[in-house]
């Protein structure tokens, strides 16, 4: 399946928390390939794409951290104006709300990572429009 799983960590929103979490990952020999951190008032959620998911989850849980796996969709889009808008149109047109979105360009390949509630439906819509959804392995190979 072309779903990508992120390791999501629930932390207090205060100084030192990112260092605390990433130190545990580094000590477990886990490499972070992509990250976002969102804060909301008292708490923050860190989301990581890592090379060794199971190792990361158990290393964090062993230290009492609250961890969850989060399914997101990653896709390659043309590196030109209007690409994000096209994706947003497809989702909006099907009444799918974009909860979170981030993107980057690496080696002239434009990659979007999106979070939606209706993952399966969104996947269908996007693939029908000819977009290539990346698997976990493909994301890690980037």
């Amino acid at each position: 399946m072309s779903a990508v799983n992120l390791v999501a960590v629930f932390v207090e929103n205060r100084p030192g928390q990112t260092a605390r979490v990433t130190k545990l990952l580094a000590e477990a020999g886990v490499n972070i390939r992509w990250v976002t951190i969102a804060n909301s008032g008292s708490f923050g959620v860190m989301k990581f794409l890592v090379d060794q998911q199971d190792t990361a989850v158990s290393a964090l849980k062993a230290k009492g951290l609250m961890v969850s796996l989060l399914e997101v969709l990653a896709m390659e889009v043309p590196d030109k104006p209007g690409s994000l808008q096209a994706v947003a149109d497809m989702l909006g047109g099907n009444n799918i709300n974009l909860d979170n979105c981030s993107g980057f360009v690496a080696d002239r390949r434009a990659i979007l990572v999106i979070e939606v509630h209706q993952t399966a439906q969104a996947r269908g819509v996007l693939e029908k429009q000819g977009l290539h959804l990346l698997s976990q392995e493909e994301m890690l190979r980037l």
């Binding site: 629930f10 932390v11 909301s40 008032g41 009492g64």
Partner: protein
């Protein structure tokens, strides 16, 4: 199961006759021996010889916590100073504590009431009871200990030790029952899970007696679910011997108050007037069987009501509803009266909520509730957490009429109290 079936099932008229005799004897003794009550009787024009019915208890003077502090250390003794064999004190937040003396007979009688209480939940001499309450001046340690020994249990006086040691004792000696603070029970479940243990399977616990902190039905259910055991509510206060004043039976539907040892009244806390049976007000207790330090109409400050209906267990001693709050604990926020238990009830009704919370009052009158999330409450989505926060604020507002700020936190981020949990931090600069 009964410890003292005859006393526990006395027909009401017989029980009330016994109460009257004991009340008359108590009033006469304090009138002879305690200057504090001599003075009060004189002020109110009470003739200690003329207590003719149980209703006459209403003419007697109240005794308050402030009286006990004022007369500290030993002004309320009804026996010679050499008679008492034990001293306990009630935790005073400021200033002097309240000192309570026990004669040898009082120690034995308090143990007797604990024995009744434990046996009515099904405890037998085969049980191993680990007492996880602090030993020392606090009654939760020794008073429970003596009662459980009387039943014949193996009692482990673990005290308020570290969780590691509690667990070791529990596993090595196959503890079947614990006496524990409800806040610590919740923390201890998390502690076991953290170690990769299943609190339902990896320890042999069958019963937990929780008390010394007001708590809600939701908290009881959570403890029961966490350990897969029965949880019984225990009510007591140092001034009345500590634990064993009232206790739940096998039906867990209210707490039987041992009426051959106490006269219970429910009053309007503002006016001091008695309330009809079934109405909610302040619990007032008179000791009927205490030698060293009898107390008349002690204002417990605890808010509850009497359940008038007889209990299926056959005991004739009436039941109290769960204490909804201690009037000393009542918060006034933006002019509204709020009991911390109201907030706990709302929080614990959310399955996503974990096991620890604290209510912070600061600034002019701002209420912030910091609450830990349960592991199952986090699915990685920030939106779900934000929605949860909104729902909690709405429900708290509906319950208390005050709009609080709710801070969600990861499990384990709030401090765990050594003794009784500190649920309210008031930093207001009013």
């Amino acid at each position: 199961m009964f410890w003292d079936q005859e006393s526990e099932t006395l027909a009401r008229p017989t029980l009330e006759q016994l109460q009257l005799q004991r009340l008359q004897a108590t009033v006469l003794r304090v009138a002879q021996r305690v200057p504090f009550y001599q003075r009060k009787f004189a002020e109110l024009g009470i003739d200690p010889e003329k207590v003719r019915s149980l209703a006459d208890v209403r003419r007697l003077p109240f005794t308050t916590g402030a009286d006990l502090r004022a007369i500290y250390p030993d002004g309320l003794l009804a026996v010679d100073r050499e008679e008492p064999v034990r001293l306990h004190t009630s935790s005073g937040t400021t200033g002097k504590p309240k000192a309570i003396f026990f004669s040898r007979k009082d120690v034995d009688n308090a143990a007797e009431l604990i024995a009744r209480s434990l046996v009515m939940t099904g405890i037998t001499r085969k049980d191993v009871l680990q007492n996880m309450m602090s030993y020392g001046l606090f009654t939760g340690g020794l008073v429970m200990h003596y009662g459980a020994e009387k039943v014949g249990c193996l009692v482990i006086p673990a005290g308020a030790g570290t969780s590691e040691r509690q667990l070791m004792l529990m596993q090595d000696f196959r503890t079947t029952a614990v006496h524990i603070l409800p806040s610590y029970a919740l923390y201890f479940a998390s502690f076991l899970e953290q170690k990769g243990l299943d609190p339902r399977k990896d320890i042999a616990l069958r019963r937990a007696f929780v008390g010394a902190e007001p708590h809600t039905e939701e908290t009881r259910r959570r403890i029961e679910q966490a350990f897969g055991c029965d949880v019984y509510n225990s009510y007591g206060l140092t001034e009345m011997n500590g634990p064993g004043v009232a206790f739940e039976c096998e039906y867990k539907a209210g707490l039987h108050l041992w009426e051959d040892n106490y006269i219970l009244e429910i009053i309007n806390p503002a006016t001091g007037e008695p309330l009809p049976e079934g109405q909610t007000g302040e619990l007032v207790l008179t000791t009927l069987n205490r030698e060293a330090m009898p107390l008349l109409r002690y204002r417990t400050r605890d808010i509850t009501s009497i359940i008038p209906e007889p209990c299926k267990c056959g005991r004739t001693h009436r039941r109290l509803n769960r204490i909804t709050g201690r009037s000393d604990d009542m918060l006034i926020v933006r002019g509204v009266n709020i009991f911390p238990q109201q907030i706990e009830r709302v929080l614990m009704s959310f399955p996503q909520v974990g096991r620890n919370y604290v209510i912070i009052l600061e600034g002019l009158d701002d209420m912030t509730i910091k609450v830990e999330l349960a592991a199952a409450g986090f699915d990685g989505q920030v939106e779900h957490l934000a929605a949860l926060q909104h729902q909690m604020v709405d429900k708290l507002k509906a319950e208390t009429w005050v709009t609080p700020k709710v801070d969600l936190l990861p499990a384990g981020s709030l401090p765990v109290a050594e003794g009784k949990a500190k649920r309210v931090i008031d930093k207001r600069s009013l």
